[in-house]
Amino acid sequence: MNTSTEVEILLIEDNPRDAELTQRALKAGNPAHSLIWVKDGAEALDFLFGPGHPANAKLHQRPKVILMDLKLPKIGGIELLRRIKSDPAAKLIPVVVLTSSREKSDIATCYELGVNSYIVKPVDFDHFSHAIGQLGLYWLSVNQPPEPKRISAA
């Protein structure tokens, strides 16, 4: 039921190097997938809820998984997560936090807000590639997402 034009992965990462490494690792594990990369929380909300993302905006896009950093410009990762997980439609989308932070408070807050996975990015590229590759495979192929409550207008 997914079409090739549908965005499967929404990557929110302000660091272009990390974004590049992440995309490379995803490709290595999962060559054929569609991915949108945005650089901050505001862009991410624009993508999900439409430009300006007003408070009562309906969900526009429904990626299979959202990969996000926590340290983001404009709207930070925690705030973005809260916004996504407080929207009835958006909260059904699995969110994976990809971060360098091992801070307990970060981990706890994310899980309290309903994060689906929390991954500390390894420095070592081999470990990194392995982790991201597994991640893509898992969320795009292994994991069974719920049926969306309503189909968005095409």
Binding site: N15, R17, D18, L21, R24, K71, T99, S100, S101, R102, E103, K104, K121, P122, V123, D124, F125, D126, F128, S129
Partner: protein, 601 residues
Amino acid sequence: MKGHVPNNDPTVTAMTMDLLGKVLSRADDPRKLGEYLTEEIRELTGARCVIFTQSLETHGTKSHRVVAVNPIRRLEWAESDAIHQLYAEIHQLPTSQIWRMPATSQTAKRLQKEGFELSLTVPLMIGENRVGLMLALGLPDAEHLDAVTNLLNTLSTVTALVLRNAFFSENQNQIIETRTSELRLANNALRANDAHIRTLLEKSERAQQALLSLLEDQKAMVTALRESEERLRRAVINSPFPVMIHTEDGQVLMISDAWSEISGYTHAEIPTTADWTEKAYGQRKQVVQADIDRLYGLTKREREGEYAIHTKEGILRIWDFMSAPLGKLSDNRRMVISMAMDVTERRAAESEIHRLNAELEQRVVDRTAKLEASNKELEAFSYSISHDLRSPLRAINGFAHILRKDCSAILNDEGQRHLEVICSESKRMGQLVDDLLAFSRMNREPLHTIEINLTALTQSVFNECLSHAPGRQVQLKLLPLPTAHADPPMIRQALVNLISNAIKYTRPKALAEIEVGARQETDETVFYVKDNGVGFDPKYTDKLFGVFQRLHSENEFEGTGVGLALVQRIIHRHGGRIWAESNVDEGATFFFTIPTTKNHS
């Protein structure tokens, strides 16, 4: 010469003359004269008894004294009452009388009765006065009676004179003697009186002495009393505290100098408690006066508490009062002593202390806030490190990997090796950053202890650590461990570090052996992790637990030098100790303790 006296005989006259001469020669002693005469007359007359008496008249009563009797054996008879009666009767007769038988008169009968039939009695006359009698009793015959009568009459006048003179002299002597004796008696009486008076005087003197000593005692007592009173007065006056003695009618009896010095009011200015309350308490005087009035009912000392008084200079001072009942005065007024301690300075110091405490507390709050802020900064810093430091490292490592993979064809071996170095060093730096962050987190995070099954935890940790050491043969000898009261993630971290170390440093061994055990001490459990690895030189033991301290080169054993520092930090935060024993190539044993006192739950 015995015989009868012849009448008118010249011999008789001579005899009479001789007698007279002899009488006169004895004129000064009537008794000797009497004895001589009575003897001579008896011999001359032949009378059986001759008596010579003297007539006396005292206070109108006549009496007779026997001057001499011959023979002398008739003395007692001559003094008898019957003969004295005879003297009195004969004394009545004015002339000489011859008494003969038959007796016709009372006197003659009396003489007859006494045995004298013929007697002659002659009064001794001086003029009309009869001064005495001469009695010749029991004459032998009446033949020479006239001659005898003449003789005696002749003798009688001279004898009377002699007798009178003699008796006068004797009387005089008698009188003098009597007077003297009277005087002596009087003198004696006087002397006795004198003695009595002296005794009395002595007594009086003693009494006076006693009185004086009593007075002295009294004086001493009064002095002692006065001294004691003075001491008391001085004790109050010179007391280092404000002291007031007052009575229930409000009179101030005494105040100490300290009272005056501190309050500024002299005793004259505050003669009553009302004056005092007026001056020292102003508008609050009634309240305070009521407090004072209540004191007179006290039965034991009481702490009244602190009162703010106004001194004469208008300065407020804090006096802490205590009062005690002093009993009653002689006029029944109840008396109270009130003593104060001036606690103004102390209160000021206390309030200064309070102020300083508050300031200190504020400073602590400020400092805590600053510390919290700096902690926040530190957290932000750590956060920043974990993101900002690790991101570039990841990029370096990542792109070096990509370069090595994508461009391997155009890189020579040396280039490949350089890329390898970049990859490994950036990875190591990433590890260093991770360890440092973990160490810093360990210091900041609060401890949440629970009872932990360390046997299961150790097994789990060992499995995990071994999974990171592929290809290694490691045997774990896990002895049953007691539970421990600890923070689970922290104690897990400690075990991870110790066991991974054990695995790491046993790498040269074909068969690595790790033993984990414990022993129970009085108030702590001692755990140990023992391996048969390369060990270490015991002289470097003190460097083992320091941050970034390493005993092996990076080539021999990789590591950042943070692991054991982290373990020590964790154990210390649990109130335990950590140490290690080893020798080179003899394996190492790491001991750590966890207190068994359950202080958390």
